[in-house]
Amino acid sequence: MERLQLTMTVLSLVLMFLVLYSVRRAHIRVEYSVSWLGAALALLLVSRSRALLEWLNGYLGLHEPAVALMMVVFGVFLVVFYRFSVIISDLKDSNIALTQRLAILEYRMRAERETGA
């Protein structure tokens, strides 16, 4: 169990470093880094707090704190993926609307030019 907790701690620190590095290199925008940093922080907290893990284990009725830890990991990433699905859907809608608007504006400009010529 200690080894699993230690691995989780290292992974969450690596994730934090990776996200901050990506933000610094402008590979990830700040607003989208918040979800990942929140996830990394949640993992760090759970992996470092044995008492929290024991409480969660008892609350969920599990027999093994390692399973509780994995459930937290699964839940945290599920929330992050859901948030990004919402963002991607919103971006796609905006993209489609922009593409259509651009095409219509080009059409109208061409029509105006032809009418004026």
Binding site: I96, T99, Q100, L102, A103, I104, E106, Y107, R108, R110, A111, E112, E114, T115
Partner: protein, 242 residues
């Protein structure tokens, strides 16, 4: 090309890589409804669709990148709505829809007061060249849509449709992106709009291949089913259907 409307209806032809068929389709439209304004919405084709359409005398709305059928059709609906058209008839760019049916569809739209008219292969019985898989899919969707629409629909996958200005307004704001025909019926039902089917004969494609391959068929069914049920969730109560 003009930013003013001419006449009260527009023929809309969504096209993607249809250089082999688009010229013939436009020619047939012009022969069936002389003087009709014809708008080809080119979904960022990689072939000469755009040039062939312009050479054949159509106006072309060119999308800067590929949106798929729903986004492509909706772009045309948006432009038609902004130009003030009362009716839009959609004809596919692959030559499967016979433009000779356009006058009948237009007359049905004008006389019936329905918001949508569907050119149907099956309204007068089974069609000739539908594949068994597609026929099975159509029967499935007929069965699913019957209670949702409150009436039977014979050819829910037909893309040969005419809409009036009320439906045009709705579709220019909200239109399904992939495989839009079936979901569009549910969108109309949500608004308690009416549709009517008139008999049409569908022909084999003039050129090119269908975007719905055998491998995509299962995805098509799942996607459309999900789309239908998501649209049902948006229904504002079940009152006063039809």
């Amino acid at each position: 090309m003009s930013t003013e409307r001419s006449g009260d209806f527009l023929v809309l032809i969504p096209a993607f890589n249809e250089e082999g068929a688009i010229g013939q389709v436009i020619g047939e439209v012009k022969a069936a409804v002389p003087g009709a304004r014809t708008l080809v919405v080119d979904d960022c084709s990689q072939d000469a669709t755009r040039d062939r359409a312009a050479q054949a005398g159509a106006e072309v709305l060119s999308l800067p990148y590929h949106l798929g059928l729903g986004g492509c059709v909706q772009a045309g609906y948006k432009l038609a709505y902004e130009l003030g058209y009362d009716y839009v008839i959609r004809v596919d760019g692959d030559g499967q829809h016979d433009p000779a049916n356009i006058p009948a569809m237009l007359a049905a739209l004008r006389e019936s007061g329905c918001e949508m008219v569907i050119g149907s292969r099956y309204v007068n019985g089974p069609a000739g060249h539908t594949s068994p898989a597609r026929g099975l899919g159509i029967r499935l969707f007929r069965w699913i849509l019957r209670p949702i629409l409150g009436r039977p629909v014979h050819d829910p996958t037909s893309g040969f449709v005419g809409v009036n200005r009320a439906a045009l307004g709705v579709f220019s704001r909200s239109f399904p992106l992939e495989y839009p025909e079936i979901e569009a019926l549910v969108v109309l039902q949500r608004k308690r709009f009416q549709f009517r089917e008139i008999p049409c004969v569908m022909r084999p494609r003039v050129a090119g291949r269908s975007s719905i391959t055998a491998f995509k068929s299962l995805y098509y069914v799942i996607h459309v089913l999900l789309g239908v049920f998501v649209n049902i969730l948006k229904f504002e109560g079940r009152r006063a259907r039809g």
